[in-house]
């Protein structure tokens, strides 16, 4: 076995934990504030929208496709909900349900384009990513949509010392995890990701499952957006900007293979999201330029992707055979 292969194997097996530990120790030593209970809680609290969005995206990635419209989906559905709540006095609880429903609908559009029109998922969601964002900016005139006070209050709700959104995230992720591991639907997702042709041969409902994975991805992206919105008390024109990339990074760092068929929601997405939020938090504590996050994040995803590529070989936009 060559050194390269061995190094790669090591990276695959334990690299994640090693990198995680190094970063964690580095920040703990380098800054005074980082390694404190309330800061760790902060990280957990801040990563919630990201983790929920990534869990939805992971479902699509596990089928071997991509959905890079998640950030825009969150933005558009939250804008619609927020505008209805602010301008038409919609009940906030109904509003939240509506937002998630909107997300599901936008996801369904993606699913339709990919599964029925047979457009490559990358191109399809690249188009809808920009189109959805355009739609939302048109609706909101690219202005901040403020929400009424009671909702803003929700953002500060706590269970004892724990911000309420942490248990919400845990519940959502556990549900998605159960969906992925314990239901036929979840197993079919993995089957498709393993090999579409084989899945079809066995007689699995490949198209239905693929379509539903996009619907769920949209709904969960919207749910993540709801958490962000509640926390901020408003929908900003930058909601979900770059989220598609961060979410994808979390998915890859969390060990979900871009080839599909491999990975775990609960045990992949939570550490993945934690790493990203930890880097952001640590850099802030270090007093680094906020613009450098993207750079560091990019480096992390490059490494994770390289590991993924080593593991599974390249696949291209087009059929190879």
């Amino acid at each position: 076995m060559s050194i390269r292969k061995r190094a790669a194997d090591f990276l695959l097996q334990r690299g994640f934990a090693v990198v995680f530990a190094i970063i964690f120790i580095f920040f703990s030593v380098a800054t005074a504030h980082f390694f404190q209970a309330d800061n760790i809680l902060n990280i957990f609290s801040a990563m919630d929208p990201l983790a929920i969005t990534a869990s939805g995206l992971a479902l699509v990635v596990m089928t071997g496709r991509l959905d890079i419209s998640v950030g825009s989906t969150a933005f558009l559905s939250c804008s619609i909900g927020a505008l209805l709540i602010r301008d038409h006095g919609l009940n906030p609880v109904l509003g939240m349900l509506l937002v998630v429903g909107c997300g599901a609908l936008l996801g369904a559009i993606n699913g339709f384009i990919v599964v029925v029109l047979r457009v490559n998922s990358l191109i399809a969601t690249l188009s809808t990513m920009i189109a959805y964002r355009g739609m939302a900016l048109a609706l909101t005139d690219a202005l901040l949509v403020e929400l009424p006070a009671p909702i803003r209050f929700l953002g500060n709700a706590k269970l004892g010392p724990v911000p309420i959104n942490i248990p919400i995230m845990l519940i959502v992720l556990i549900l998605v995890h159960l969906l992925q591991t314990k239901t036929s639907f979840g197993r079919q997702i993995m089957a498709i990701g393993n090999d579409v042709t084989v899945a079809r041969k066995i007689g699995l409902p490949v198209d239905r499952t693929g379509f539903l994975s996009f619907v769920l991805s949209g709904a969960l992206a919207a749910a993540g957006g709801v958490l962000t919105t509640i926390e901020n008390g408003a929908v900003s024109p930058f909601l979900g900007d770059g989220l598609e990339f961060t979410a994808l990074a979390v998915v890859v760092v969390g060990g979900v293979s871009l080839l599909g068929g491999r990975g775990s929601i609960f045990f992949g997405i939570i550490p993945g999201a934690f790493i990203f939020e930890m880097i952001r938090n640590g850099l802030t504590n270090l007093g680094a330029d906020p613009y450098s996050y993207r750079l560091v994040g990019g480096a992390v995803i490059f490494a994770a992707m390289y590991a993924d590529a080593l593991k599974s070989g390249r696949y291209a936009l087009r059929p190879q055979s």
């Binding site: 920009i130 993207r294 992707m305 936009l317």
Partner: protein, 326 residues
């Protein structure tokens, strides 16, 4: 075996019926645009506006040519606009620091080439996925650009630089348009008639068959990304000169959409192996005309994004080949 032979028979359809349908769709799109312009935006045909459209189209064309080459080889380069912005900003910074304009140009082009080299290396040698590599590159590079500039625009560049590349030497046609026309013709010949061009198509059509036919696949792939880096560098130079400034916003999301739609409208297949440079030039012109017309008619910028998204999806769906195993 008999079964396989029979399956071969059923597959023996001429595989390229679609482009004609695509071409028909492009022409219809152009016709619709022109009719809409005729009725709603008479201002379109003013001299200044036409020159403006040509300028915009020529800059988009450069990026679209880069994308076309990468797509022909079977990849995609989403980092093109971000790459251009980084090159522009670094070049502008160096000129602001007192460097000669030639040095500024060299900085822009070499920056973009190095980003292209990294992309190419990652795809060709490290066997990473083109879409994700360049998506990551786009994020990293635009992050770096924002960081460098603090989201501010870098202006007051040396006049020699601005004048040189923003000049209008012949009949008031901007130098950028001329450069793109010459370059487009040059690349078209390159793709049609050089060994490298033929190799590019072959790799894009079928990598395995290309390998059996003794084509150095990795070199071809690497070269395609290097080339798109070069195009990003050139457009950085021209765009910076035109605006008289450089900023991170030069490479926003909308530009990626413009490039991809110019390519698919121009008949470049996202699955590799087919597409022509003149097609991409036509696509770039069409998309620019559409944007400009929508702007004149008063359609909001955001709605124009939606329409471009629809155009891309429609054209790829028309192309109609099965979604590849990704």
């Amino acid at each position: 075996m008999a079964v396989i032979a029979a399956r071969d028979m059923s597959r023996r359809q001429p595989p390229f019926v679609w482009p004609s349908r695509q071409r028909a769709a492009s022409v219809m799109l152009l016709a619709t645009a022109l009719i809409a312009i005729e009725f709603y935006a008479p201002n379109f045909f003013r001299y200044h506006n036409i020159i403006n459209v040509l300028l915009q189209a020529s800059l988009l064309s450069l990026l679209a040519i880069g994308m076309t080459i990468v797509m022909i080889v079977g990849g995609i380069d989403l980092s093109l606009p971000a790459n251009m912005a980084l090159g522009a900003v670094l070049g502008a910074l160096s000129m602001k620091a007192g460097a000669h304009w030639a040095v500024g140009v060299a900085v822009m082009i070499s920056t973009c080439l190095s980003v292209g080299l990294i992309n190419g290396f990652a795809v060709a040698r490290l066997k990473m996925i083109p879409f994700v590599v360049t998506l990551a590159m786009m994020t990293v590079v635009s992050g770096a650009t924002v960081w460098l500039t603090n989201s501010l625009s870098i202006s007051q560049l040396p006049d020699t630089f601005v004048d040189l590349f923003d000049a209008r030497p012949v009949f008031g046609v901007p130098v950028a348009v001329l450069i793109v026309l010459v370059l487009g013709g040059f690349i078209a010949i390159l793709m049609r008639s050089t060994v490298a061009g033929r190799w590019a198509y072959a790799v894009g059509i079928n990598e395995r068959a290309a390998r059996v036919a003794r084509i150095p696949i990795n070199r071809v792939i690497l070269a395609s990304y290097l080339f798109s880096g070069l195009m990003a560098g050139l457009s950085a130079v021209l765009l910076t000169a035109r605006l008289g400034s450089a900023s991170a916003n030069m490479g926003n999301d909308g530009v990626v959409l413009d490039i991809v739609s110019a390519c698919v409208v121009g008949g470049v297949s996202i699955y590799g192996g087919s597409g022509r440079v003149p097609g991409a030039l036509f696509g770039a012109l069409l998309i620019t005309v559409l944007s400009n017309a929508m702007n004149l008619i008063g359609v909001s910028y955001y709605l124009s994004l939606i329409m471009k998204g629809v155009v891309i999806v429609a054209f790829v769906a028309i192309e109609g080949r099965r979604e590849g195993r990704q």
